[in-house]
Symmetry: C2
Subunit: 203 residues, 2 copies
Amino acid sequence: MRGKMEDIILASASPRRRELLDQIGISYRVVVSREEEKIKGDTPAEVVQKLAWNKAQDVTLNLQVKKKLVLGADTVVVWNNQILGKPAGEEEAFEMLTDLQGKIHQVYTGVALVYLDHEGKLKGTCFYEETQVEVYPMNEEEIRTYLATKDYTDKAGAYGIQGAFGAYIKGIRGEYSNVVGLPLGRLYQEMKKIHLELEGKMR
Amino acid sequence: MRGKMEDIILASASPRRRELLDQIGISYRVVVSREEEKIKGDTPAEVVQKLAWNKAQDVTLNLQVKKKLVLGADTVVVWNNQILGKPAGEEEAFEMLTDLQGKIHQVYTGVALVYLDHEGKLKGTCFYEETQVEVYPMNEEEIRTYLATKDYTDKAGAYGIQGAFGAYIKGIRGEYSNVVGLPLGRLYQEMKKIHLELEGKMR
């Protein structure tokens, strides 16, 4: 991607999200939101979009920069209608993976693209993508061996699809990058739309 | 993965396949087959499995090492019942992406795991995975911008899902790593099976 769509502000501390933006050539600087990751809302789609919006809004209002998109994002894993966030420790991670192995679960990432218009009003858009992930059956030794790599820490659902856990993925339905932390294809489409809007308004 | 399943021989020059094996911790050394990538067989599944088997067989017979698995693999893109291999140049790449944009296509990777038994007989297994890939509509400028990165060279179907082309992926159905060049989840399952067989026979 080129020109005005470059140079966004990424309101996320996740190294995976930085790598994903690098992958498709979107440049950014990171300004981490102080927004707490409290879960609000009824459905996973609501939860991730609200959290994404809150992070992006917090950074936008603090910085007060105009003509710049701020990207907030939040990812959760949903299994059996429960939202799984980041595990508190190895035992919680073990429980999560014991639930996920041999079954299909959902990964939701919510994304908010926020900016201040010329009057200083908060504008933007919010969307989410859902990806289904099927995990092969794993025995206890396989789960323990994976957990020993510490790859699970700081990851919703206690796994990273882009790491050693890739050995246990039977298949997915939806965007892969959405499972890593940002739905790149959808993001690019939404950035194109908002860029056209901004071009019109900012002239 | 640990112990005896490590230390395979990879009969492929693809850097993507090396990265995928690294991802799930399978160690390997590379011995490239001189087998030509000629397409034989009636269906894409047959073609990729035959090519994968030929590569692995060629390396196994040349090296004559026993008790070691040789992995051969081949990946093709299928659109509208045509097999797309690696593009010969930028114009062929442009034609391929013009076909693929806005539509769903299939990616087939065939994998062969071959070894010599104690009598020097060729043994092994062969399988394939199919992944469906949906690409967002792309205009000519977007295709040309992508091609200018040269990321398309040496890639079946003229794109790499793990690079800048990720901005145009609407979703997939199946294994992501299969699109990159090796179905990691299925590979791990098949290696577990063959490892159990080998343990029995090689005692």
